[in-house]
Symmetry: C2
Subunit: 198 residues, 2 copies
DNA sequence: CGCTTGACACTATTAGAGATTTTGTCTAGT
DNA sequence: ACTAGACAAAATCTCTAATAGTGTCAAGCG
């Protein structure tokens, strides 16, 4: 398989996945028809099957793509803020809140929401459950790099706070993403920077 | 209506509610039959209707009782720890985690979980939504009393942390209630006690 | 009175048969 | 490498009849 064919195929996969994403957003996973996906992607139904194998497999590929994109986004945001952990956290949290707000699918994955329109998740043992673990690990590594002077236990505490508070604010938002991110970063800074009292 | 009749009636209501609680736990709200409730409570079906009016009304009464009991429990736990906020928070969180663990109904209310076996909540505008708000307010008042030297903003931050982290750990537990409560109290202490850096 | 019992209409839930879609595969054609 | 059409098998919808449950009434009992 040549390089060229590979890139063609990749763009084809992406077109199909894009179509699927839009249709799932409109009608939910249950209302998704392979025929519609094919049509919207400008491709034959058969091609979808040869490329993905089955509707379920297409679903898996879809959430895997979304998850990977999200994780890449987080990585990018974090890397873009060098050693300023506070700024990194603020930006990362805001990015996550915004993503969850306008990507129903990722919101469902992040909050581990079952049932509802996201019947999609019903059978996704793959890279969807470990999402939060991966994000936590990434944030932990970033924290270790950006705040080497903080002891490990405090860093752990802080990272757990970021993740849990962020998810909490996705499920039950009270303010804008900016304001919330700012607030969470503030909390987390305190958790990390205060040595154990008493 | 005499005092005596009142207490008789109250105990009758309680017996019926107890029966309903057990049956809901077994079969879910959807699987609950008024006839079974009456039978288990040792009461006629008609009595249930004269007392509560309808199945839905009985459901409301049930969750209201559970919510009130929970709130009373929190109040008691908090009051039992005088001015030691840290101890109070630890005990309160542990109480909440334990309650959620063995009271499916309250767990559903606390986490605002919709659908599932708790189809009960589908139509409860009453004292179920404000639960977290009430608990938050109680904790806030308690904090103001136990930690007067901490500025209000820091207290707000800390209270929000307790509530959100507790709910988060109900939804996704990683350790025992004791360990988790201890951890949350530690985090919250840091949030409250650290003056704003930079 | 306060409760039980049995009877009742009305409504919601369930079960099954049949029609209709959709999935997933195959084959021939471009 | 993809499209197009045809197809069996499986899933989903639809409608009907039967069943079960809710909510109300009136009669009876201590």
């Amino acid at each position: 398989m040549t390089r060229y064919t590979e890139s063609i195929r990749a763009s084809l996969r992406d077109r199909v996945l894009d179509a699927a994403y839009g249709l799932v957003a409109d009608a939910g996973w249950g209302g998704l028809r392979m025929a519609h996906v094919a049509e919207r992607a400008g491709v034959s139904r058969q091609t979808c099957y040869t490329e993905f194998g089955s509707k379920d497999a297409l679903g898996q590929a879809l959430v895997m793509r979304e998850v990977d994109r999200f994780l890449d986004g987080i990585r990018e945001v974090l890397d873009g803020h060098g050693s300023d952990l506070r700024a990194g956290v603020t930006a990362g949290v805001e990015f996550t809140l915004r993503t969850a707000a306008d990507n129903e699918l990722l919101k469902a994955v992040i909050t581990s929401q079952r049932g509802g329109d996201g019947e999609l998740m019903a059978h996704l043992t793959t890279r969807s459950e470990p999402l939060l673990d991966t994000a936590t690990a990434m944030l932990g590594a970033y924290a270790a790099h950006a705040w080497p002077e903080v002891d490990e236990y405090s860093r752990e505490l802080a990272v757990e706070c970021v993740v849990r508070l962020t998810v909490s604010n996705i499920v039950q938002p009270v303010a804008s993403p900016e304001a919330t991110a700012e607030r969470i970063a503030r909390i987390v800074t305190r958790v990390a920077l205060l040595a154990e009292p008493e």
